[in-house]
């Protein structure tokens, strides 16, 4: 499932995938895969993304069942 909340948060901070990738020390393709829902990141990477986007884990990654 696509992570549109992460994509929106990144766009709100006016960051490209490449810039977010550099902030999180991963490749641009990894950020792209997370946004497209092709890859489930570890909690460590989730935290790095949240810190880079000034969001909480719940805001970006928690899905109500």
């Amino acid at each position: 499932m696509k992570n549109l909340r992460m994509k929106a948060a990144r766009a709100a901070k006016d960051l490209s995938q490449q810039q977010l990738a550099e902030l999180c020390d991963v490749s641009r393709q990894t950020i792209n895969a997370i946004e497209k829902g092709d890859y489930n990141p570890t909690i460590s990477l989730c935290r790095a993304i949240c810190q880079a986007l000034d969001k909480t884990l719940d805001e970006l990654f928690w899905e109500e069942s």
């Binding site: 490209s16 995938q17 490449q18 991963v26 490749s27 641009r28 990894t30």
Partner: protein, 168 residues
């Protein structure tokens, strides 16, 4: 004597690769990210499986009278095919380069290595000595095998470079 020179060349290449790697480490402290490590693990599995299957097929093929390669070249091909599977899988899943690494330098290295391997088989082809007793042997075909291997890797790198732009 041939074996001795082969060992010397092997050690020289190993030392060159080690020094090259040390130089790279000093100039760039890169690492693969978590997704890339997963992809590379899968690529290792595929590469290993293909190498084993090719080796088994090679053992049977060597018995066939029509088979045009000698045993040493067949084993070299098995290894090269396995490595090619590993590398192509990594390249097409964006797990070949470190994050933020520029690919241009590596493409130049692959092109240079490819060019280094071309003169010998071309010269043998013109001399008519590419086949030895109707078979392509390790001594006459190893450079050709390496050139084909590098051409496959180069092609994969170029295809990925020009088709891999998937940002929204």
């Amino acid at each position: 004597m041939e074996n001795m020179s082969l060992i010397v060349i092997f050690i020289a290449v190993l030392l060159f690769a080690a020094f090259f790697r040390m130089g790279l480490r000093k100039s760039y402290t890169g690492h693969y990210d978590e997704r890339q490590l997963l992809v590379r693990g899968k690529a290792n599995q595929y590469g290993f499986t293909v190498t084993i299957l090719c080796t088994l097929a090679g053992i049977f093929l060597l018995e066939a009278p029509w088979y045009p390669l000698d045993a040493q070249l067949t084993m070299l091909l098995c290894v090269l095919v396995g490595i090619a599977v590993h590398l192509v899988y990594c390249i097409f899943h964006d797990a070949y380069y470190f994050p933020n690494q520029k690919p241009g330098r590596y493409i130049v290295i692959v092109v240079l290595a490819l060019l280094c391997n071309l003169p010998a088989p071309i010269a043998r082809l013109y001399e008519g000595s590419l086949l030895d007793g109707g078979r392509l042997t390790y001594w006459t075909g190893a450079n050709l095998a390496a050139a084909v291997f590098l051409a496959v890797i180069l092609l994969a790198l170029l295809i990925r470079r020009f088709t891999g732009r998937d940002e929204e």
